[in-house]
């Protein structure tokens, strides 16, 4: 539950920072449109931290666990966004002709 909250938050963050076409909408988001999902994402992260602190005896332990979880969530988010982009973008001519380069 806590992990999913964090994962959702980080995915939201990822979607708003994506440099080219936004992963879901295929159009770049304007800077105002970025703010709301980002705000929600930060709130969710704060919620995750609060939940962890309440679940744990020690605030310090909870903070460490929250920081570590963020890394894993961010890695997942990057992979999810990459997969989504691959799925959304049709293969370019070059890739279809020559196969993917390493």
């Amino acid at each position: 539950m806590i992990f999913l909250t964090g994962l959702l938050a980080v995915v939201l963050l990822a979607l708003t920072t994506h440099r080219d076409a936004a992963t879901l909408t295929l159009r770049p988001l304007s800077s105002q449109h970025r703010l709301i999902p980002r705000g929600i994402a930060f709130l969710l992260l704060a919620l995750q931290l609060t939940l962890q602190i309440r679940n744990s005896d020690s605030t310090a332990f909870a903070l460490i666990e929250w920081t570590g979880l963020f890394s894993v969530e961010a890695l997942f988010a990057a992979v999810i966004c990459t997969v989504l982009r691959r799925w959304r973008e049709p293969l370019s001519y070059k890739q279809r002709k020559f196969g993917s380069l390493s």
Partner: protein, 485 residues
């Protein structure tokens, strides 16, 4: 040197990275494995089938065995049994020198358990590099500072830090490697910075002792006493006196420590009138190591000194040390340390690859070719060597004398052989070959974890399978025709 700050720092990042990269790769990977060192010891001793163990009973049995078989040792040092580690890890000196072995929790004897260093091999290698004191530790300390420098210059070198936070574009050659390198660095940056700095802190008293030297001059005993006033040191008296029964002493310590329990016990000069028993509390509720210590008089069991650490500067040092060794880490956090350690290992690996790829375009001369080949040897070969440690342990007969030393020698033989192989083979061919070997070795570890009864065997098998899959994927990618190197 480059005129502007960012390019200069990029240059520094590249060079400090490549010079210390291979050493750091080995240090970080062995450190990552050390997160689970008692579990690894457990894996390597299928004889230890007991799941739950009474810590105090195990300690009593251990002390009884040591009193009978190691009475001449100047000291006994015990890591007590815990849910993670249902055995007592004891360190003592016999006629052959110092030895460290797990002791059975019921009999207190190491004889029924096969002679193996277990997870302690990775732990020791991680900061001693199998070199004589103090050279290994000095090198590891320098490497830690180099890692810190490489991380900081890497942050400076990285443009668009936040804009590219989640960017990963696979299938684009150097671009993809750089994306992966940046991603691994950025998402776990707090961990990387923390582990590098705290790693240096744990060894700082060896390579950076000047503030203590300046204030204490040569009086290092005084400094040690000031650091932990409860760690009493007394010289041998020469008069024999039996050690007090340990059970009441354990109960007293337990009362003082509360739920944290007793983590470490040191018995100095056992059997002598001046014997001292020092007990250190666990890390149930504190990150910092040695936060609570009690020393008892050996023959009588009376409390000599007790110390709870409250001094801010010393607490800071203890917490930094504690963050690195992570004794405090409960379940999820421990796995997070492990995963983050793997990310740091991959960060170093991708960085080493990038160094070669970015120079592949220019005229390749001897240095670049050698680095490219040794990259394959180190990055793909080190996992093979570490995996072989587990495999050799299952293959060697349990009753063999000096098994522990033999296991470790096999690791270095395999490692050396792989490095020689990689140096002589074109990198293009060596990468898929050694990566396939790594995949096979990890799969074998999963297989050798049979019959997967204990949690440690099952968990080890799952991790080994995941790693085998990753290496298989990497091996196939590295053998594609259009690869750069």
């Amino acid at each position: 040197m480059k005129r502007h700050f960012r390019p200069a720092m990029t240059w520094l990042h590249d060079w400090s990275g490549i010079i210390t990269g291979w050493l750091l790769f080995a240090i970080v990977l062995s450190g990552t494995l050390s997160v689970f060192r008692p579990e690894i010891t457990l894996w390597m001793q299928p004889e230890l089938t007991r799941q739950t163990v009474d810590s105090n009973q195990a300690t009593e049995a251990a002390i009884a065995w040591l009193s009978a078989h190691a009475s001449d040792s100047p000291g006994w040092y015990l890591d007590t049994a815990a849910p993670r580690a249902p055995f007592t890890l004891a360190f003592w000196s016999d006629k052959n020198g110092y030895t460290q072995r797990p002791l059975d929790p019921v009999t207190g004897s190491p004889d029924a358990l096969r002679d193996t260093r277990g997870g302690e091999f990775f732990y020791r290698f991680h900061f001693e590099l199998q070199l004589p004191y103090p050279w290994g530790r000095l090198l590891a300390g320098i490497a830690a500072m180099a890692l810190l420098l490489t991380l900081i210059t890497g942050i400076v070198a990285h443009r668009r830090f936040f804009a590219d936070f989640f960017t990963f574009r696979p299938g684009k050659g150097q671009r993809s490697w750089l994306d992966a390198h940046n991603l691994l660095g950025v998402v776990a940056l707090p961990f990387h910075l923390m582990i590098a700095f705290t790693g240096a802190v744990t060894l700082a008293s060896l390579f950076f002792p000047w503030s203590a030297t300046a204030l204490y001059k040569n009086d290092l005993t005084r400094a040690a006493h000031d650091l932990n006033p409860a760690a009493i040191e007394r010289p041998r008296s020469g008069t024999a006196a039996p050690l007090t029964p340990i059970a009441p002493v354990l109960r007293t310590a337990q009362q003082h420590f509360g739920k944290t329990g007793i983590a470490q016990i040191a018995v100095v000069n056992p059997g002598d009138r001046a014997a001292v028993i020092t007990m250190t509390a666990g890390n149930e509720d504190s990150i910092g190591i040695t936060s609570h210590t009690i020393s008892f008089d050996g023959p009588t069991g009376a409390i000599l000194a007790e110390h709870i650490e409250r001094r801010p500067a010393i607490m800071t040092y203890n917490v930094l040390y504690g963050l690195h060794v992570a004794r405090f880490a409960p379940g999820v956090t421990r796995w997070l340390y492990f995963v983050s350690g793997l990310m740091l290992t991959a960060l170093i690996g991708t960085g080493l690859r990038l160094w070669t790829i970015s120079r592949a375009r220019r005229a390749s001369h001897f240095g670049t070719i050698l680095v490219a080949r040794l990259n394959a040897g180190f990055i793909a070969g080190t996992p093979v060597a570490f995996a072989s440690y587990f495999l050799v342990s299952r293959v060697l007969p349990a009753g063999l004398a000096d098994r522990a030393g033999l296991e470790i020698r096999c690791v270095f033989l395999i490692w050396g052989a792989l490095l020689v192989f990689a140096a002589l083979r074109p990198a293009r061919k060596a990468w898929p070959e050694i990566l396939t070997l790594a995949a096979a070795a990890c799969a074998a570890v999963a297989l050798f974890s049979a019959p997967w009864h204990r949690a440690v065997d099952a968990a080890g098998a799952i991790i080994a399978i995941l790693l085998a899959a990753s290496f298989t994927f990497a091996a196939r990618r590295s053998s594609l025709k259009n690869r750069i190197i």
